[in-house]
Amino acid sequence: MLNYDNPPPRRRLLASRWFHDPSAFATEQTALSTRLPWRFAGLAHEGGTGDAACGGFLFRRQTHDVPPLTDWLGPLADRLSLLSTALDSPVASDSTEFAANWKILVENTLDDFHGSTVHPQTIHPAVDADWRRHLHTDRFGPHSRSQWKLSDPTAAWWDKLVTRGHLRRFATQDLYDHCFIFPDLYVASFHGTMVIVHRVVPLAVDRTRLEWRTFLPAASDDAKAASFRRGLVSMLAASARQVIDEDRPLCEQVQQARIAATGPGILGWREQRIGYVHAALSALLPTDGTAP
């Protein structure tokens, strides 16, 4: 599926002060808390509270006269409902802090083509070598979704895991699927079975905590399969951590250098998900928030 056969509009990126200036950070956080209709509030299985739920994903209503949550989420509401079937099987949780603005983490996770340079031994070989042809991206307002076809060896590996570990699949898809809900939630799933829920938590203009929860649903209580899954979880959790640890230095390098940038930057066709986020933020921020 190649859906990049037409040039997207060139989108402006937010000016650097939104990444470095503490007062800009305060302004932005206020805008996100008072002008955004809905915001992710946690997972139901963890005892979180919210004003509305989409499956196991809870959301807080932030303004009056908001659209229904399903309208705000658009077609991704169905996706979150489907992913929620895995949320009864938490197997690991982790977090780490980045010395970087939260938007840089979001840019990084929405960047569909740093796999070969930043994740050459992890994500990159897991997806089809002809990934540009097999990458499909959709946008729904400020939210977006990308789907990569897994490489044949990776898909075969997952098939074996499903068999030996009696894993339950919520969808029959040989995909690495990445679903982003503006501004701070993204959910990755693999082979229609493992789900990793990520939350980007801004701590300061130059500091962010990334939290993630891993879910691996099982289809049976078979003791041998359960034992296999326990070993598998350790490996998968370490792998997830490695990917984040590969991303962190690059995010921090952007934080260090962005204040010194003199040009507007540029987004490639496969970076348009980033442009959607900047456009959505620009609409929320005071009118001087757009670059340049």
Binding site: R132, T262, I266, L267, G268, W269
Partner: protein, 161 residues
């Protein structure tokens, strides 16, 4: 304050491909030897603003580790992965994304950098007369006999949150 900062020892940049990095306040900069000519730029990728070279010195292409953009002696991105499918930048568009140049001066065996590419390169020469003693330069760096760098103020980033 002249704006010049000590960046490296000339020996660090003696061969083609050798580079050195530092900070002028909060601005990351680099100087690289391009076939015998020292050229300096802001150390910020024009694509998505990553700091490109992170070690104090090294040897190799001027390449951003984030998406592998490679820059030439004019600071123009000469290699852009996926340009054919994702950026579609012709020569003029690439030149528009050139890294901002900085001033570079060589004096007393030392390499100095200035954010203004047209800054007076004669200024650092007055700093480096070797009188056989340890000296503190106007930028706060300290050099010893034989132009040995004892402390380099540009090694640390300043002025940013």
């Amino acid at each position: 304050m002249s704006g010049w900062v000590l960046l490296a020892h000339g020996d660090d940049l003696a061969a083609h491909g050798c580079w050195a990095t530092g900070w002028i306040g909060a601005i990351p900069v680099l100087v690289r030897n391009f076939n015998g000519t020292l050229r300096g730029f802001r150390n910020v990728c024009s694509h998505r603003f990553a700091l490109m070279l992170t070690e104090p010195t090294g040897k190799g292409p001027l390449r951003c580790p984030y998406h592998a953009w490679v820059y030439d002696q004019d600071g123009v991105p000469k290699a852009i992965p996926f340009n054919d499918s994702d950026f579609h930048l012709d020569d003029a568009a690439r030149r528009a994304l050139a890294l901002p140049a900085i001033g570079v001066a060589m004096a007393g065996g030392l390499v100095f950098a200035h954010l203004d590419p047209n800054a007076d390169s004669a200024v650092p020469a007055d700093w480096t007369a070797d009188n056989g003693t340890e000296r503190t330069l106007p930028d706060g760096s300290v050099i010893g006999p034989g132009s040995a760098i004892l402390y380099r103020s540009s090694a640390r980033r300043e002025g940013a949150c």
